[in-house]
């Protein structure tokens, strides 16, 4: 499919080639139109007939093909090619803190590539994908669709993101939850640099709405290791007062605070049945995605 990919900015053909065999799996029950790899709770109509299979006890009576029974006196069950699909909703944190990057790509750019690639994977398995971008408020909302054309809209939307400082993550997640009509897989891509309780409250909103929530916690390697030497002045990206210090001497304090934070987020996600993956932006995108999909399958 990649050879027929429209001209997009955030889809790297090389990465797509590496992740083309991956399949995003909705681990729990999602509301889909078809029955297939994702079991649908709804009894909807079929989409496209595939072939017949001899009836066996336990098969739904309504799937019996009575015309064939009339002609052959045998019970056959109709099978459909397309099974059900799921909605995948990508939430991208476009707050100012996401603009930090120690390397060539900052967290936001990395998140955009990540989102575009996941969107491609979801569309490839004929599921629907939607996108929401938020910072201090929800800046854009693209409802899930399964047509490949949506990839262009997603790409355009990702290009237009202009980061601003964030106030509360919970509010934005609640707003997004309200916008979503069906139960979906919600993939939150964010550095989660906010109050842990606020974050968990937001995630709970999504969970309560029946969404299957996946958190891709995106952090820069410098944020994870704090490798600075000498005297540094740190200017907060979200309006915090600056700090001039010798990072070497406070590294242990910093890493301890970071560890506490990460532990709290991980524990909170576990408690809320939210899939949590820490993403180091220095790692290759395909490796991160492979690991993420593998975790979901297992």
């Amino acid at each position: 499919m990649s050879e027929h990919l429209p001209n997009t900015f955030y889809l790297d053909p090389e990465v797509l080639h590496k992740v083309s065999d991956l399949e995003v799996i909705a681990r729990e029950v999602v509301e889909g139109l078809r029955v297939g790899s994702h079991r649908s709770p709804l009894r909807g109509f079929s989409t496209e007939f595939a072939h017949h299979r001899q009836y066996s006890p336990g098969d739904a009576i309504r799937d019996l093909d009575w015309r064939v029974f009339g002609r052959t006196d045998r019970y056959y069950t109709k099978l459909y090619e397309a099974e059900t699909n799921f909605d995948c909703h990508l939430l991208i944190d476009a707050s100012a803190s996401m603009t930090y990057g120690s390397g060539k790509v900052n967290k936001l750019e990395y998140a955009k590539f990540l989102a575009a690639t996941i969107a491609y994977l979801v569309l490839k398995q004929r599921d629907s994908v939607g996108l929401s971008v938020f910072d201090s408020e929800v800046r854009a909302y693209l409802p899930p669709r399964s047509a490949m054309g949506i990839i262009l809209q997603i790409d355009r939307l990702l290009r237009d993101i202009k980061p601003t400082p964030r106030t509360s993550l919970a509010k934005q997640l609640r707003d997004v939850a309200l916008m979503m009509k069906r139960r979906s897989i919600v993939v939150l891509i964010s550095d989660l640099l906010t109050d842990v309780d606020d974050l968990l409250a937001g995630l709970d909103h999504l969970r309560f709405a029946g969404h299957n929530v996946v958190v891709l916690h995106t952090l820069d390697p410098h944020e994870l290791a704090f490798p600075f030497k000498g005297t540094w002045k740190f200017n907060g990206l979200e309006g915090e007062p600056p700090l001039t210090t010798q990072p070497e001497k406070i590294r242990d304090d910093y890493l301890a605070s970071l560890k506490t934070f990460l532990e709290a987020v991980r524990t909170g996600c576990l408690g809320s049945h939210v899939d949590y993956t820490l993403v180091d932006t220095s790692r290759p995108l395909d490796a991160v995605l492979s690991e993420f999909v593998f975790n979901r399958q297992t």
């Binding site: 100012a96 803190s97 996401m98 603009t99 930090y100 967290k107 550095d191 640099l193 952090l219 820069d220 944020e223 600075f228 000498g230 005297t231 540094w232 002045k233 740190f234 200017n235 907060g236 990206l237 979200e238 915090e240 700090l243 001039t244 210090t245 010798q246 001497k249 406070i250 242990d252 304090d253 910093y254 605070s257 970071l258 934070f261």
Partner: protein
């Protein structure tokens, strides 16, 4: 407070470096936008401020340690410290000990010498020097010799060095002592400098002579006298008076003995030795106090070659000046070429004069060959030791050059005036390029007779000259028997000496100058009786033989004094690049041969011993003895009296301490400076240790946190 090394205080500017580094670190920082500010929370900010405060504290400790170390290296000292401040410092001084090592210090009383007593005094001074203090020991003499310079004092090592010292045969050059001591004092680094001069305070050297100048401002000056008895006899001269120095002849040497003591000396025995074998002995019945007596020693010469001649006294309180040495080179024969300008009588007179022999003279010790001046070009000059040119009309430039080379090689030339001499031609052709052949420019003949027709008498202008010396021993009437009616008027060259002149007018009669290793004598009068009657008087053979002896002598026959340089001159460039001098004590000194004014010379700068040196052109070559005697100026061992000491050193700030008690008191009173460098060094190192421990503890605490 003053500093021994004040310039090192500049290093205190180095304190600015850690401060500068700190400020640079503080104000020159990297800047970054940062997302995870929530982890740089209040606690971290407080810790940052604590770290900054600790850094400032560590910085201050480092700066303080640095300052204290700089102060320690600058060696602060206080001249007059009291109380607690005095307790913090150590009494330190740099000591320069100047030991008079001139040979008068060898004067003894039968048990100890002045030098032995001087060493005892130095031991007393050394007992009060702290280990580690800088010490300089210098031996004073004609050439001052620094034994140790700014040595960190170690008692055992210094005592060992002191025991190895001996008095030298040199005299004391006191005039250069203040300058030398000033150099040493300026070179010494110490909070307080002290100079001790241990000397016998010889009257002739010290009495009202020396100006110590600014030396007193540099260091505390203290003189430690080691005086003694004044009795001393010395041989002050040993000179050849007469004799032709040929094999089988006897020469007369004159020995002068001086009594420097305060009492008359009686029955003074003088022994003459030739090659350490007694040749003659004389007894001087009495020598008055302060007076001199002269005796003649007759020395026979049995064999040709260099002969070592020694005159000795019986040993007395100062043995160094009881011996005098000379060297004579005895020839078996001397060849003289007499070139006559005319077929007159001058050649005959010269031959007769040179062949005139006494009853002790060997038969045929001089050969004289007379030739006419026209046959001069055919003569091989190398066969002759001396050439006499008598009334030769002129000379070619080539002949002049040949004579110049002949004389430069060490031979002699005697030139006589006469009626035939063409002055202008001689002046022109004898001029040569460098040194002229003749010692004077010839002008016209002038009459020196008075109105009665009586010529001028002879006057030895240089009484100490070898040619003049026998004339002085002649009776007055015999000397004045020779009369000169006419002499050439001359213009002597700057390098020439007038040996004989006419009494009254002072007109030069005999002029001398040196060319290379040889000499040229120029008579302004004739050899024959045309211009004078000298040729028919006994003076003529005397002068002529003395001149030939003098001209055939060698440079190294002239005795040297201790401290003089010894030279060995070569005619041509030698094969060996080094000459060898064997000292009287048996040491062998190798001296490089250098080219100097077209001559090759090996020069031993400073003869340090009295005795016979042996100069050799190479290690394998036979040696030529050179006599080296002590300078008898040092023989007057009379010391300054107490009154003279008081007047000499009044107002100079120089302390004179006689007894050991006075010496110890002087050291105790004057050594007041205290050095504080150990205190500052200790404090600096202590703070460095504290700073290191503090930094280490902070580092560990940070890691634990």
């Amino acid at each position: 407070m003053n500093f021994v090394n004040p310039w090192l205080l500049l290093a205190s500017l180095g304190v600015a470096l850690p401060i500068l580094a700190h400020l640079l670190n503080r104000y020159k920082f990297n800047e970054t936008n940062w997302a995870a500010m929530q982890f740089l929370n209040r606690e971290v900010r407080v810790r940052s401020r604590q770290i900054r405060l600790r850094d400032i504290l560590l910085l201050m400790l480092r700066c303080l340690a640095l300052l204290l170390l700089v102060l320690a290296f600058a060696q602060p000292a206080l001249k007059h410290a009291t109380g607690f401040v005095a307790q913090l410092g150590e009494r330190r001084a740099g000591v320069i000990i100047a030991l008079d090592a001139s040979y008068s210090m060898q004067h003894g009383d039968g048990k100890t010498t002045r030098f032995d007593r001087a060493l005892k005094k130095i031991e007393t001074i050394a007992a009060n020097i702290r280990p580690g203090d800088p010490v300089t020991l210098i031996l004073l003499g004609d050439e001052h010799r620094v034994v140790v310079r700014n040595m960190a004092f170690v008692p055992e090592r210094f005592a060992e060095i002191l025991r190895a010292q001996q008095a030298t045969p040199e005299s004391l050059d006191l005039d250069s002592v203040p300058r030398r001591l000033k150099e040493l004092a300026e070179d010494m680094v110490a909070p307080q400098k002290e100079i001790y001069i241990v000397t016998d305070l010889q009257e002739q050297d010290w009495k009202n002579r020396i100006a110590w100048g600014e030396l007193g401002r540099l260091a505390h000056l203290c003189i430690v006298p080691v005086t003694g008895d004044v009795d001393n006899l010395a041989i002050t001269s040993l000179d050849l008076v007469s004799g032709v120095l040929r094999q089988g002849t006897v020469a007369r040497y004159q020995v002068t003995v001086r009594n420097y003591g305060s009492r008359p000396a009686t029955n003074v025995k003088v022994t003459g030795l030739v090659e350490n074998v007694t040749a003659d002995t004389k007894i001087i019945p009495a020598i008055a106090a302060g007076g001199s007596e002269t005796v003649s020693l007759f020395v026979p010469f049995q064999n040709p070659g260099p002969v070592k001649i020694t005159a000795k006294l019986e040993p007395d309180a100062l043995p160094a000046d009881d011996t005098r040495r000379a060297v004579a080179v005895i020839r078996d024969r001397v060849s003289v070429l007499c070139v006559e300008g005319t077929s007159g009588k001058s050649g005959g007179f010269i031959s007769a004069a040179l062949r005139a022999t006494g009853k002790t003279a060997g038969q045929g010790d001089s050969t004289v060959e007379s030739v006419s001046w026209v046959s001069l070009p055919a003569q091989d000059l190398t066969k002759f030791d001396v050439v006499i040119l008598a009334d030769v009309p002129d000379i070619t430039t080539d002949q002049a050059r040949r004579f110049e080379e002949y004389v430069r090689a060490g031979n002699g030339l005697i030139w006589f005036a006469g009626d035939n001499v063409k002055a202008a031609v001689w002046n022109e052709r004898a001029k040569l390029k460098g040194t002229p052949l003749l010692p004077a420019e010839i002008e016209q003949p002038v009459s020196t007779s008075d109105a009665l027709g009586v010529g001028g008498a002879l006057d030895p202008s240089l009484p100490d000259h070898s040619v003049s010396r026998p004339l002085l021993s002649l009776p007055e009437d015999l000397l004045s028997e020779a009369r000169f009616l006419k002499v050439l008027q001359i213009k002597p060259a700057a390098t020439s000496l007038t040996v004989l002149s006419l009494a009254g007018s002072g007109a030069p009669v005999l002029v001398e100058h040196s060319i290379g290793r040889g000499k040229v004598f120029m008579f302004t009068t004739s050899a024959g009786p045309t211009w004078n009657n000298m040729a028919v008087t006994p003076i003529f053979p005397m002068i002529l033989q003395q001149m030939v002896t003098y001209l055939t002598g060698r440079e190294f026959e002239k005795p040297r004094l201790v401290g003089d340089s010894l030279s060995l001159a070569y005619v041509d460039q030698p094969n060996a690049s080094d000459a060898v001098f064997d000292t009287p004590s048996g040491e062998t000194i190798t001296v490089p041969v250098r080219e100097h004014r077209n001559q090759y010379v090996a020069l031993l700068d400073h003869a340090r011993e009295a005795g016979f040196y042996l100069a050799r052109v190479s290690v394998q070559a036979p040696g030529l003895p050179v006599a080296v005697n002590v300078d008898t100026r040092e023989s007057n061992v009379k010391c300054l009296s107490d009154a003279e000491i008081a007047s000499t050193f009044a107002g100079t700030g120089i302390a004179v301490v006689r007894s050991d008690t006075d010496l110890l008191n002087e050291i105790e009173q004057t050594r007041t400076a205290r050095s504080y460098w150990p205190f500052f060094m200790l404090a600096g190192l202590l703070i460095l240790v504290v700073e290191s421990l503090f930094a280490d503890r902070l580092c560990r605490r940070t890691q634990n946190v």
